[in-house]
Each structure stands twice: as structure tokens, then as C-alpha cells.
């Protein structure tokens, strides 16, 4: 047998340039898969959690069962979750997304519901007095006021999804998790460290991104106000909200 090559890969160093250059394509593919799985599962989770939270707010008696079921789902170990969903989805990315959606529900539903519940009753009354129907009340008053709490939930759900995606490695769809698990089996330091660092970077970037989005879509929270005095007046588009709010406040 030929002598082993003398490079940082063979020496199994934690930080290894040769690892990055030989695995560039693999790392890129893993990051893309990681992002796809995370984004897809959080978006679907949001689409499922929002109606559930509204339902739980509208009919109070449903809140208990909704929260109980989503919390029970959250406590299922990931290995068991994927095994339970396997007959439904087979070995596919869908399987991982479905599992992550179920995990995200408890965080999203709880936070959106907390946001909706925190809408002051007098604000709702005022909107109703101005002739707002239930749908308009929900869309233009309650949901915007629930945004800060909902966004907090979304940020936690997203960061936790980034880390949970790695578990998908047991069915071959784990993004960077595939590399982490393979690296752990052969004690491949550079691979484990690089993939883990990328995972953390994705989580931090996603969190900052959502923080930025929240900053952009909740301008009233920056105006030194704790409550959006929406529903005090005229119909308006969201873009004009801040301006007209100021007018209404000054009137």
C-alpha cells in the first residue's frame, strides 16, 4: 500500500483548507438542502399554525385541545417522529419537512395566540364601533398587533428548525446533518466542525433576517408607542398607516 498523503485531511485537523476546497460542491449542496428544508417547513408550519391560533382565539374552548395536541407533538422524539411518518411519506424530503412542521406548531401557535390575546379589548371595541366586521378586524387590527409576539415565535421556530433538520440525516435528507453524522462515524474533525459552524451561521443569519423583517413590518413599534392606535379612523393601506396614525393621534 502506498504511504498516506501528508495533508491536513490525512492528519485529521479541525480546520482544514483542503477540506473546503475538495468538498466545496458537497458543502454547497448540503447548505442549499438545509435552507430548503428549513424554509419550507417553517412556511408550511406558519400556514398551519395561523388558522389554528385564530381558531383557538375565536372559539375559546378549542384553545385547550389545540395547545395540548401541538405540545404533545413537540415532545415526540425525532427518531420516533420520522419512524411514525415513514409509512406516509416514504424516504423523502417531504418526510423531514412534515416532521419539522409538526415540531414548529407548538412554538408558532402559542406565540400567535399570545399575540392575539394581548390585543386590548378596548381596541377591538373601538374597531367594532367603527363598523369593522370580524374579518377586517382580524386582518387590519388584531393580526398586526399580534405581530411582535408572532414574530418572536417564528424566530424561535426557525432557529429550532435549522438545528432539527440535521436529524433528517437518518433518512438521507438532513442537509448539513448528513455531513455531521457521516463525519462523526469516521471521527472526521474538519467535516464535523465545518458543517456545525455552517449550521450555526445559518441559524444566526435566519434569526437576524427575521429580526429585520419584523423591524420593517412593525414600524409603529419604533415610534415610541407600545400600542398601534389602529382602528381609530379611516380605512387605509398598510403603507399609509404610520402617517395616518400620527394624524389620528394628533387630532
Amino acid at each position: 500500500m502506498t504511504a498516506p498523503p501528508d495533508d491536513c485531511l490525512a492528519r485529521n485537523e479541525w480546520i482544514c483548507g483542503a477540506y473546503l476546497s475538495t468538498r466545496r460542491r458537497i458543502l454547497l449542496d448540503a447548505v442549499v438542502q438545509h435552507l430548503q428544508l428549513t424554509v419550507l417547513s417553517v412556511l408550511i408550519g406558519l400556514a398551519v399554525a395561523l388558522p389554528l391560533a385564530v381558531l383557538a382565539r375565536r372559539w375559546g374552548w378549542t384553545a385547550g385541545p389545540v395547545l395540548a395536541v401541538t405540545t404533545v407533538l413537540y415532545t415526540i422524539p425525532s427518531l420516533a417522529m420520522f419512524s411514525l411518518l415513514l409509512p406516509l411519506y416514504g424516504l423523502s424530503a417531504t418526510l423531514v419537512v412534515a416532521g419539522l412542521v409538526l415540531y414548529s406548531l407548538t412554538l408558532l401557535v402559542r406565540n400567535i395566540l399570545a399575540g392575539l390575546r394581548a390585543v386590548p379589548e378596548d381596541t377591538r371595541q373601538a374597531a367594532r364601533g367603527l363598523g369593522y366586521g370580524p374579518v377586517r378586524l382580524l386582518l387590519t387590527v388584531e393580526l398586526p398587533l399580534a405581530l411582535p409576539a408572532a414574530m418572536a415565535g417564528l424566530r424561535i421556530a426557525t432557529v429550532s428548525a435549522v438545528s432539527l433538520v440535521t436529524v433528517g440525516a437518518i433518512v438521507g435528507f438532513g442537509g448539513l446533518g448528513n455531513l455531521i453524522y457521516a463525519g462523526m462515524n469516521t471521527y472526521f474533525k474538519a467535516q464535523v466542525l465545518t458543517a456545525s459552524v455552517l449550521c450555526v451561521l445559518i441559524a444566526v443569519a435566519a434569526d437576524l433576517l427575521l429580526l429585520g423583517v419584523q423591524w420593517l413590518i412593525t414600524p409603529w413599534t419604533r415610534a415610541g408607542r407600545t400600542r398601534m392606535p389602529s382602528g381609530r379612523g379611516r380605512p387605509r393601506g398598510s403603507r399609509a398607516r404610520d402617517v395616518s396614525t400620527t394624524e389620528a393621534g394628533g387630532a
Partner: protein, 311 residues
């Protein structure tokens, strides 16, 4: 009412994606198929990755498009192979025969794998065919399970074989896969055939670095690995001989889903490996990936080119 709502909710949640059910097994009676896009399964350990790469590159050369999927447990990938989500998997004849036997006839069924390759292949094909799986001919490479202990431990207690270990009455903790407690060639066989006092199985995986380190550091005494493991030296471990033939002839065989990859084209492409690939080659390639950390794809390509199987 609440229960009904919960049920409806669960149904809604779980129905938000569609995928083929594993219950819809590949049509057993269908004629051998020749799909042009084949998914090669790897069981997630180095040698399986390498074999999957060898298969994929040979199939690519034969004009097939291939993709690779890594699934760590046979309990997960075998049903996928039956349903056609995976089309080709590198397997080990006796281990796979016994696994299928246990799946078909229950965990207590009499083992069908044996040290005799002919008998093992006959049994394997009989079990695989009704599931829509075709077992292609075996080559020369054989990867048997093997047990290793620390070199100084072996010296101190005068151990050369597993029989010596049984006679020594030493208590050993075994680092292996969590399935070891059920497999007849693992914990049950060590106890029954060799009389080894296995106090417990430490589920660290088969031949993983963690498993070998556990023995190196003295937390476990015995580790389950394979005859193609080229890293034992670097962990200060030595193999104990299987003097009572507990381990069967685990020849490398490609197993394919017949309705998708049962064609002569696939058999011919993969068959080219049979005369060439030896146990020693596998150990060498394992070392290049495990110790030198080359990419399995590159190692497989270099090997095939070296042997003239790849242009």
C-alpha cells in the same frame, strides 16, 4: 367532538404532503424492468458508500443516470428497495439473507445464512424473489463481521481467538450497533457459541470511531467491526479469530428492485466488478476514506480507472 376535531386536525397535518406508501410494494409479478434513472442506496458506513459509488459509476458508464441516497438502517432502506424508491443496494449475502428470513418468518426463525456461499445465495434468492428483489451474482470481496479487543488486553489475558475469550470467563462490554442484541452473529452468538460473558451492548455503531475509541479507552472491552477495517492498528486494537465459524460468508452482492433494475444491462454493468474487487481492495479503499479522508467518489473512480473498468 373534541376528539373528532383532534383527529381531523391530525389528518390535515399529516396529509399536507404526498408520498408513496411503503405498503405499495413493487409488483412482484412484473417483468424485469429497465428504468434509466436509478437510485443507489448506501447504508451510511464507509464501505457501503464506496460500493454505492462503484455501482453508480459503473452504471453511469453503461448509460444509466444515477443518484445516491444514504439511509442508515436496513430497517428503513429495505422497504424502500422493495417499493422502488431505491433501486440498487450493496448488501452482504448472509447478513441480508438472515435479515430477510427474520422479517419473513419472525425473529426466532432458524438462520439461513451459513459459511457456505452456495447455500447462502440459494436461501437469499428464495427469500428475496417474493419481495420483488433480485440478488445479482456475488464477486470475490467478502466482508465478515469481526470482533476486536485492545492489543495489550489480548496479551495480558492470552487471547488470540473468540474461543480464548470465552474460556477466560472475562466480563466484557461490547461496543456494537443497537441491533446487536438481536442478531444471531452478535451478542446471542457470542454468548451461546463462545460462552463469552457479555455484560451489555454499548450502542455505538458497527466499527465506528466512537466504538473503537470506547475500547481503546477501556470503557468497553470488545468491539464489533469488520474484516475490511483498515484502521484497527491506529486504535491499538487486534482482531480475535472466529475459530468456531460464528460468522457467515458475507460476500458483497448487489441487490436490485426487479421491476426497476432487473435488466440484463444492470447485471452486466455491476457484474464487471465481480472478478476484480477483492476483500483487500475494499480494506485499502476503506483506509483511504477513513484514515486519509479522501472522498468515496474519488477513491472509487481511481480504483475503477486503475482496473480498466472506467474510461
Amino acid at each position: 367532538m373534541r376528539r373528532a376535531l383532534t383527529a381531523v386536525m391530525l389528518l390535515t397535518l399529516t396529509a399536507c404532503g404526498t408520498g408513496p406508501s411503503l405498503e405499495n410494494r413493487g409488483q412482484v409479478t412484473a417483468t424485469p424492468g429497465d428504468s434509466h434513472h436509478l437510485t443507489i442506496g448506501s447504508a451510511g458506513f464507509t464501505e457501503s458508500d464506496l460500493l454505492a459509488q462503484l455501482y453508480a459509476q459503473l452504471l453511469n458508464q453503461a448509460g444509466y443516470r444515477t443518484s445516491l441516497l444514504t439511509v442508515n438502517n436496513r430497517e428503513l432502506y429495505e422497504p424502500a428497495l422493495e417499493s422502488g424508491q431505491i433501486d440498487v443496494v450493496p448488501e452482504y449475502a448472509a447478513t441480508f439473507a438472515d435479515w430477510l428470513n427474520a422479517k419473513t418468518h419472525g425473529a426466532d426463525a432458524k438462520p439461513v445464512g451459513s459459511p457456505d456461499l452456495g447455500e447462502t445465495m440459494t436461501a437469499l434468492r428464495r427469500l428475496a424473489a417474493p419481495r420483488g428483489l433480485t440478488v445479482l451474482p456475488p464477486g470475490r470481496a467478502v466482508d465478515q463481521n469481526a470482533f476486536a479487543v485492545r492489543a495489550d488486553y489480548a496479551r495480558r489475558h492470552g487471547l488470540r481467538t473468540l474461543g480464548d475469550l470465552g474460556a477466560s470467563k472475562l466480563k466484557v462490554r461490547l461496543a456494537a450497533g443497537d441491533e446487536c442484541v438481536q442478531r444471531p452473529y452478535c451478542e446471542p452468538g457470542l454468548k451461546k457459541v463462545y460462552g463469552i460473558d457479555v455484560t451489555g451492548v454499548d450502542p455505538k455503531g458497527v466499527g465506528t470511531a466512537q466504538a473503537k475509541r470506547a475500547v481503546q479507552e477501556g470503557r468497553d472491552q470488545l468491539v464489533l467491526t469488520t474484516t475490511t477495517d483498515a484502521t484497527l492498528d491506529s486504535f491499538g486494537l487486534v482482531l480475535l479469530a472466529d475459530d468456531r465459524h460464528l460468522q457467515n460468508a458475507d460476500y458483497v452482492v448487489p441487490v436490485v428492485n426487479r421491476s426497476r433494475a432487473g435488466s440484463a444491462g444492470v447485471a452486466k454493468a455491476l457484474g464487471r466488478l465481480n472478478d476484480v474487487l477483492t476483500t483487500r481492495d475494499l480494506a485499502d479503499m476503506n483506509q483511504q476514506v477513513d484514515s486519509w479522508r479522501r472522498l468515496p467518489a474519488d477513491v472509487a473512480r481511481a480504483f475503477l480507472k486503475d482496473k480498466g473498468l472506467l474510461k
